[in-house]
């Protein structure tokens, strides 16, 4: 979807303003937001693509005004309701009012190290050979789905070169919507700055994305 998250090339946000000796957390609630997000993910009801799509579906004014831990928290409230774990009334009241969905598992303290060490690999075997090889010229497709995609707007309908075949991975455009993992080959595709930004582009700039095979057409 063309949501507020798709920020590449937008203007008006001001300087980056890195903070010297930035602490990991700026408030106690950020620690809890991190922990709640990871613990709730471990319930096993949704995947990372659905959670990303839920974050990018936050209304633009809210999304752009929020810190990232706020974005996580807002999306988490939606995910927990969508999957029947809590109700809106419970979130408002800050109290349990009824039993909800049963989780596949609950993350206990003694499981954390193992779960973090394992992570969530997203590479999956496919039976097809890669359609493209390093050095191939390709063009990204032009589409504007209302659903999840990882092809940023600035890189649509652009010509580039395949730099590497990176393996086959879960296809987020399907997986975010419960349509299955449907893995595809993923390629690193490099574009000249001028191809993306046109007049006035930095002549020394090139930008790469990692693109699923169905985002690409041969040239």
């Amino acid at each position: 979807m063309n949501g507020p998250h798709d920020l590449g090339g937008q203007m008006g946000f001001g300087p980056v303003a890195p903070e010297k000796n930035e602490p990991y957390f700026h408030a106690e609630w950020e620690k809890r937001a991190l922990g709640l997000t990871l613990s709730s993910g471990a319930l096993g009801a949704w995947n990372i693509d659905e959670s990303r799509h839920t974050r990018e579906s936050i209304p633009p004014a809210d999304y752009l005004g929020a810190s990232y831990y706020e974005i996580w928290t807002r999306a988490l409230e939606v995910l927990l309701q969508r999957h029947g774990f809590v109700t809106a009334a419970e979130i408002d009241a800050g109290r349990k009012q009824s039993d909800g969905a049963m989780p596949k598992r609950v993350l206990k303290a003694d499981m954390v190290a193992g779960v973090l060490a394992k992570g969530g690999p997203c590479d999956r075997p496919v039976t097809t050979a890669p359609r493209f090889a390093a050095g191939d010229k390709v063009r990204t497709r032009n589409f504007n789905p209302t659903t999840h995609t990882r092809l940023p707007r600035y890189a649509r309908a652009k010509s580039g070169v395949v730099e590497a075949v990176q393996g086959s991975f879960v296809f987020p455009d399907d997986n975010a919507h419960g349509r299955g993992e449907n893995p595809q080959w993923v390629y690193t595709v490099v574009f000249d700055g001028g191809e993306i930004w046109g007049e006035g582009a930095d002549p020394t700039l090139s930008v790469s994305i990692d693109a699923w095979e169905s985002y690409l057409e041969p040239m």
């Binding site: 998250h5 798709d6 920020l7 590449g8 090339g9 203007m11 946000f13 300087p15 980056v16 890195p18 930035e22 990991y24 700026h26 408030a27 106690e28 809890r32 937001a33 991190l34 922990g35 709640l36 990871l38 613990s39 709730s40 990018e56 810190s67 990232y68 706020e70 928290t73 774990f85 809590v86 419970e90 408002d92 009241a93 039993d99 989780p103 609950v106 993350l107 206990k108 954390v112 060490a117 394992k118 992570g119 690999p121 997203c122 990882r150 600035y154 890189a155 990176q166 393996g167 993923v186 993306i196 930004w197 582009a201 020394t204 700039l205 090139s206 930008v207 990692d210 693109a211 699923w212």
Partner: protein, 209 residues
């Protein structure tokens, strides 16, 4: 101007107070329902405050500088090479290392969300996840670098890696002069988090300035 600043901070404070209440309410409901273990949150936070941070990545870079075989392995199979030092897991499942050279500087961003190599750099800083960096890194990297105090030669190529899939990128900065024979631990002290994102360079030791 002063009043604007005041309003801005006031707004910020309110928002943070609101979030504190909102997160507490959510944690209470989830705890009462048995869906989370508050003790697990403590362990998660402690992990990223004390165990998993940019020192991990700095050790990877230092080893790549001092051990050419390791550097080759890192180029070919970064996930395995990094795992050999004990760094793996969440948001480091599929690693790629990209090496700065005489003629190319690498910069990593996630324009679509906040993808970041947690296993080697820990939790991302606020600016990495915020709109200014995510919007500008791909169109005005030199302007962004200037805000980090980095000025590259005009002829130097800049390659921006937008982390749009599940690959996570670690920048290996150029090894500074004046570090011959240094131990890996001493070399790692020169490698900042920003140098491994590409918004910084490795520190130059005093004897080489």
């Amino acid at each position: 101007m002063h009043d604007d600043d005041h309003d801005h901070h006031h707004h910020h404070d309110n928002r943070y107070t609101d979030m504190q209440a909102r997160v507490r309410a959510l944690e209470t409901v989830l705890t009462e329902k048995g869906l989370i273990d508050p003790a697990a949150i403590v362990v998660i936070v402690e992990t990223y405050e004390t165990k998993v941070g940019p020192r991990n990545g700095a050790r990877v870079v230092a080893k790549a500088w001092s051990d050419l075989e390791f550097a080759d392995w890192l180029r070919q199979d970064a996930t395995a090479a990094i795992a050999s030092l004990g760094y793996a897991g969440r948001q480091g499942e599929h690693m790629r290392a990209v090496f700065n050279t005489d003629d190319t500087h690498n910069l990593v961003v996630c324009t679509l969300c906040s993808c970041y190599p947690w296993s080697v750099l820990g939790l991302p800083p606020v600016w990495y996840k915020a709109p200014a960096y995510r919007s500008r890194a791909v169109i005005d990297p030199r302007g962004v670098l200037a805000e980090f105090g980095v000025t590259l030669p005009e002829s130097k190529k800049i390659r921006v890696w937008d982390s749009t899939a599940e690959l996570r990128y670690l920048v290996v900065p150029e090894r500074p002069n004046g570090t011959d024979g240094w131990s890996d631990e001493r070399l790692a002290d020169l490698v900042s988090r920003d140098a491994m994102i590409g918004t910084g360079l490795a520190a130059v030791p005093e004897n080489a300035r």
